[in-house]
């Protein structure tokens, strides 16, 4: 009963609800169909099994629209490719999509809708920590496998993690592990963190800062409200000896802090460093020419030319499938920049689901636990489904590990990869062991 495969609802039997469901189905299939069309015309007949439904929740209306747009695009493309290749275990894959409105309350409501009304088999999506935290206990309650789309809260795979959640994507602690040393060695030892006075900003300042201090560096932390419009009062507080200014804001303030740093001429005396989350999906031309010289810690090179040689073939196919140009733009709209560093999760997760289904012999929700066990021991080799390179899951905390990149903004506003941090260097002790909990 709890897994949503209970008896049919009266309404469903009566049929009054059918038209609406058909509508969703039609839209999702239509989208998928379009994506298929762009790939190949090979018709395919599926086995007798009923379709496997993957539910997604994405940030489609509020704040982070661009994330929702691109993550959904990637998910649809992946599902289309899966179906073109025979689906999962001979069953067709369907996508059901809802918007989170970047609102944990709304998202959890939609998440329940996915599980209980749409009766999906697996769930994925969202880049928002609050949203994932809110649906996280529901995933556990319903024993519903859930794969985050790129939220950075360390707690999601921390000591209070739940067994039905997995993250193949990086988070604050891993970012720090990947990024601090390089910055410390190459940019300077005296850091100032100007971050949002917000859970996310706090954790970045803490994760990076503690490592810098441990290595003998100096840090200063300036907190500013996430919705700050005018950063001058905070920028003026930056210590004159600062060598590295690390900023972390989302949305409009991320642009604001970037340009206002330059407006005050600070860029001439210090290095700017940030995580790509601040401006992923925002074209560098939008961030402005002021950003030239700024450093980003990213999880996928924005430009195809910057992708390591051995991955370029996969990258090319992947970009084509999701409709992204070599410069990380929408093929149909050169103004629309992709959230390159986040969206690949939605491309890879469906494939990993397929792998785990096949490994565990999953048929329906009864084997969800086995499925999760299988999923969290996957080692995905670089390939068409893993254009970002090898990816490894850790069964203890359900955390995935992948390569990170350091990119610097060129004067022509392209992003140039100047370093690559291998996933092996990012390992840290697992804070929890979930293996016994499945």
């Amino acid at each position: 009963m709890k897994n949503g495969n209970g008896k049919k609802s009266v309404r469903e039997v009566m049929g009054s609800e059918i038209s609406r469901r058909d509508f969703i189905r039609a839209t999702t299939m239509g989208a998928a169909g379009l994506a298929v069309g762009s790939l190949s015309f090979a018709p395919f007949t599926y086995g007798a099994g009923k379709p496997i439904r993957i539910g997604t929740i994405q940030e489609n209306t509020v704040g982070a629209t661009v994330y929702g747009y691109w993550l959904t695009k990637a998910a649809r493309a992946a599902v289309a490719k899966l179906n073109a290749e025979g689906g999962i275990a001979g069953r067709k894959v369907e996508l059901v999509e809802y918007d989170t409105k970047v609102n944990p309350a709304w998202a959890s409501s939609m998440y329940k809708k996915l599980i209980l009304e749409d009766k999906v088999d697996f769930t994925m999506g969202s880049v928002h920590s609050g949203v994932q935290m809110a649906v996280f206990p529901l995933a556990q309650q319903f024993k519903m496998p859930y794969f985050g789309g790129g939220a950075m809260a360390a707690g999601l795979t921390g000591k209070d993690a739940v067994a039905y959640y997995s993250r193949i994507h990086t988070h604050a602690r891993m970012q720090a592990a990947a990024g601090w040393k390089w910055g410390f060695d190459n940019l300077g030892k005296n850091w100032t963190f100007l971050v949002a006075d917000y859970a996310w900003g706090h954790s970045l300042a803490e994760e990076f800062g503690s490592r810098i201090r441990a290595a003998g560096g100096k840090t200063q932390t300036i907190l500013a409200p996430q919705n700050t419009s005018d950063f001058v009062p905070y920028l003026q507080k930056v210590d004159p000896g600062t060598k590295v200014l690390f900023t972390a804001f989302l949305g409009a303030p991320a642009l604001g802090v970037m340009r206002q740093t330059v407006e005050l001429g600070l860029h001439k005396r210090l290095q700017r460093y940030t995580v790509i989350c601040c401006t992923d999906g925002v074209g560098q031309e939008t961030v402005g020419k002021e950003s030239a010289g700024a450093h980003y810690l990213s999880y996928y090179p924005r430009h195809a030319s910057q992708v390591p040689k051995e991955l370029q073939a996969y990258d090319k196919a992947y970009r084509k499938a999701v409709g992204m140009t070599d410069d990380g733009k929408d093929v149909s709209d050169p103004k629309n920049t992709a959230t390159v560093s986040h969206m690949w999760t939605m491309w890879t997760i469906p494939y990993m689901i397929k792998q785990a289904v096949e490994l565990s012999g999953w048929k329906d929700s009864k084997k969800n636990a086995d499925f999760m066990k299988a999923f969290n021991t996957l080692k995905v080799k670089a390939g068409p489904w893993a254009p970002q390179g090898d990816l490894m899951m850790r069964a203890n905390d359900h955390q995935g590990f992948h390569n990170h990149y350091l990119e610097v903004v060129q004067p022509d506003l392209s992003l140039k990869v100047i370093a690559r941090v291998a996933k092996e260097k990012l390992m840290y002790d697992a804070p929890v062991d979930l293996r016994s909990k499945l």
Partner: protein, 316 residues
């Protein structure tokens, strides 16, 4: 017109009928409707608690989100950090917000009209600012996840990880709260509230300490808003500083206005209708706020007394 005897029997009958239908839902409907109705009931409780202060006493509080969010934390933090039980968490979710409401109300009820509106927004803003930045305690905007231990009722242990149990718990608490409020607004105390709404100066002149009654209403409303927040948190297993933001009060305002302020059944209807509308619309278009805003504005212009007021007007 119905004979008085019938009229007196109408409410208990209707209430029992509605409660019975709601109680029967888990036997006929799948889990989705249980969780959906759980949510509707929780927001309905939030809306009637707001309506007590707005519809009955005439004070427009945009700060109820503060108590809603506090109620959530009053359940989550003791459970998570102190290992306390769910039962005491629920009691705290009434007591803590009520205590805060007493503090906030002590200052707020001195003001009337728009000044009151603004001071309640400010208090809520202080709450959400503290909530969002005191991340070690509140988890900030990311929030706190917790797994509520079973609720020990002495005779039975209620497993709150179970949808149906949670549904019945929420249904029972909301039904009791509804009956409590109904009794209260019909009691001598409720008559004072309404008198203050209708004519504050007159109420003072016939000997009512208006501020004290306003404060009392504010505290009761705060406690019940907190209870709604507590139940919400309990059903989600999640508390967040975003629930403290003053704009969350907007839900209650919309439900109460659309359903009919100054009645108890109105906000419940409003919550049900608007939420059903949102859930239906979400499959058709993404801009649900557009529809909610438009419904709110057109209600204000076309049926200022809300659905209930409109129906009553028609009947007359």
């Amino acid at each position: 017109m119905l004979p008085d005897k019938w009229k007196a029997a109408a409410f208990p009958l209707a209430f029992v009928l509605v409660a019975a239908v709601l109680a029967a839902v888990p036997f006929f409907e799948d889990l989705f409707y249980q969780t959906f109705l759980t949510e509707v009931l929780v927001w309905a409780l939030f809306a009637i608690s707001f309506d007590l202060i707005f519809g009955y006493v005439g004070l427009l509080s945009f700060g109820q989100a503060l108590f809603f969010g506090l109620g959530g934390y009053a359940v989550a933090i003791p459970t998570l950090k102190l290992g306390m039980g769910t039962g005491s968490g629920l009691l705290l979710s009434v007591a803590v917000p009520a205590a805060f409401a007493a503090f906030v109300g002590f200052f707020s009820v001195r003001l009337t009209g728009i000044h009151f509106v603004i001071i309640t927004i400010i208090f809520a803003l202080i709450g959400s600012t503290v909530g969002e930045t005191w991340t070690s305690l509140t988890g900030g905007a990311d929030g706190l996840v917790f797994m509520p231990p079973p609720l020990d009722l002495g005779i039975a242990q209620l497993d709150l990880m179970d949808i149906r149990t949670t549904y019945y718990l929420v249904l029972a608490i909301v039904a009791i709260s509804y009956l409590f409020l109904r009794r209260m607004v019909r009691s001598p105390l409720g008559k004072v509230f309404v008198a203050i709404r209708e004519n504050e100066e007159r109420a003072r002149l016939i000997g009512y300490d208006v501020r004290r009654y306003k404060l009392l209403a504010f505290v009761i409303a705060g406690g019940l808003s907190g209870l709604a927040g507590g139940l919400y948190t309990l059903s989600l297993k999640y508390a967040s500083a975003t629930f403290l933001h003053w704009s969350v009060s907007g839900h209650a305002v919309v439900y109460a206005i659309v359903g009919g302020a100054g009645t108890l059944v109105g906000p419940v209807l409003g919550a049900g209708l608007i939420m059903a509308l949102e859930h239906y619309l979400v499959n058709l278009l993404q801009a649900t706020d557009l529809v909610v805003g438009a419904v709110l504005v057109s209600t204000l212009l076309l049926a200022p007394m809300g659905i209930v007021g409109f129906l009553r007007g028609r009947r007359k």
